[in-house]
Amino acid sequence: MNNGIAIQVVNLTKHYGELLAVDHIGFTVRKGEFFGFLGPNGAGKTTTLRMLTGVIRADEGIASILEYKAGSLKAKQVTGVVPEMANAYGDLSGWDNLMLMAELYGIPASLARERSTSLMQEIGLYHRKDSLVKTYSKGMKQRLTLCLALISDPEVLFLDEPTSGLDVQSARMIKDMLQGLNARGKTIFLTTHDMEEANQLCDRVAIINEGKLVAVDAPEKLRMAVSGMHSVEVSFDNIVNPQALANIPGVNTVKKLGDKWRLYTTDPGELVASLTNYSTSNGLKIISLNTLSPSLEDAFMALTEKREKDA
């Protein structure tokens, strides 16, 4: 039985003509889990989300939401969706958009008014509740879209890059709200290409590339699974030759990051000693020096590049 499972995906596949957009993917999301779905643009994230929310039909495979077939009325009734593009009705006020969604989810009017007031106050839109949505800023529209998804108090929330292109304040507000919802036991499925966002928010992430699932694991485990991606970030008081840095024993790759250098290695301890020797022998002074574990971005790059090489 699916007890404890919020989302189950088996062999899900979608073609767009010749293009295989989603290629026989499978994963499960537990109830109450914050699940990230990571991938570069065009990897198949939105197509997968649209199949799970019943907007488009899969060509093969099955997916279920809380044991209901994805796309069925029952599955849609227990889910809330924040699509990639803010899509409230511009010719209606924020409040009227919420009332419309409440009607479409069969929520009694008095409860709808109570929830709408509370949601709009929480997300800082209440003072503009009667303004037409077309007069809202992008951040306000996206915050309203989150309210629209929450009006039915759904058990499972799907979000497609909800903070993409938003101002810092709106993005922060949305992330805080998502963390609060997750803390209250809601299952959250978030697609993003922002590694830092996934790292901050998600219990587990799936990485999708060119329609195929590359990995599914906790962000920390994915980072640790990438060998050879440790690095040392160093800055000197003077200009250095990148070739000279690359020639230091133990350095695999050199990257310039502003006024700093990031040196990738398999043995950060030995590299720190070598860097000290290098600076002494070249009359340089080390201004800052940090050892870094692989980031989720490093893991993502390593995993997606490995897949491309294997292909």
Binding site: L73, K76, Y89, D91, L92, M101, L104, L148
Partner: protein, 251 residues
């Protein structure tokens, strides 16, 4: 087959969609231009200067207005919403595609039936009498539903451009007006003209309107009513079936 509770639930949600359409789309430019202004001017251009009685003109004007208004809202809602990306929101809500279609049809039906009161009241003011008001009212309701359903057939091709759908609709609507007994009574048409007229649902409504206002129609009333029912069923079935295929392709 959905159970009664689901059907009632979806019917309520169709009404919510219809109310939303009324608030957003009734005042849109293409609806006012193609739905209201166009039929009035087209009718005037064909009637001014001709010696026609009010009893002849009002059924024609009513047919024109009802046909254009009831087919003005339903074709543009889906492409408009696909373009504005609100269709994806509707499709992710717990509503069936049929529920969305029925909502759009109801909004278009109400627009057509509501605006058609204008030529009826104008006619009554000018002295026409309606001999069988019940049949006449039934015909207006049935025809508004039929034409609103036809409107959703126009929007089946998965384009997200309302102007393209309006173009498709115009290609059908203009010839239909000329073959439906609006400007020339059916009994004055040659046999081939009458044969062509019978493929237009507007013919049957105009015939009932002429029967109710002029006192005589060309066909038996039962045939007119059954034909309107048949066309409505056909358009509804085609819209329900084919939008299932094309709606996901708009996203």
């Amino acid at each position: 087959m959905p159970d009664i509770a689901t059907i009632l639930q979806q019917a309520r949600r169709s009404l919510a969609i219809a109310r939303k359409d009324m608030r957003i789309y009734y005042a849109k430019g293409p609806v006012i231009i193609f739905g209201v202004l166009f039929p009035v001017f087209l009718f005037l251009s064909f009637t001014i200067g001709r010696q026609l009685s009010i009893d002849f003109m009002i059924p024609g004007l009513l047919g024109m207005i009802l046909f254009f208004t009831a087919t003005s809202v339903s074709p543009i809602v889906i492409p408009w919403e696909a373009q504005a990306r609100t269709l994806e929101r509707l499709m992710s809500c717990p509503v069936r595609i049929e529920t969305i279609i029925v909502g759009d049809i109801l909004a278009s039906f109400a627009f057509g039936a509501g605006i058609s009161l204008v030529p009826i009241i104008l006619g009554l003011f000018l002295g026409i009498t309606i001999s069988s008001p019940f049949i006449f009212a039934l015909a207006v309701i049935l025809a508004a539903l039929c034409f609103a359903s036809l409107g959703t057939v126009f929007s089946i091709p998965p384009t997200n451009m309302p102007s393209t759908v309006n173009m498709i609709a115009s290609v059908v609507k203009f010839p239909v007006v000329f073959i439906s007994g609006i400007f020339i009574p059916l009994n004055e048409l040659p046999a081939w003209g009458q044969a062509v007229a019978y493929i237009s649902p507007l013919t049957y409504f105009t015939d009932i309107a002429r029967y109710s206002i002029q006192g005589q129609g060309h066909l038996p009333i039962a045939v007119d009513i059954l034909a309107l029912l048949g066309f409505t069923t056909l358009f509804l079935a085609a819209a329900m079936k084919l939008h299932q295929r094309t709606m996901p392709r708009r996203i």
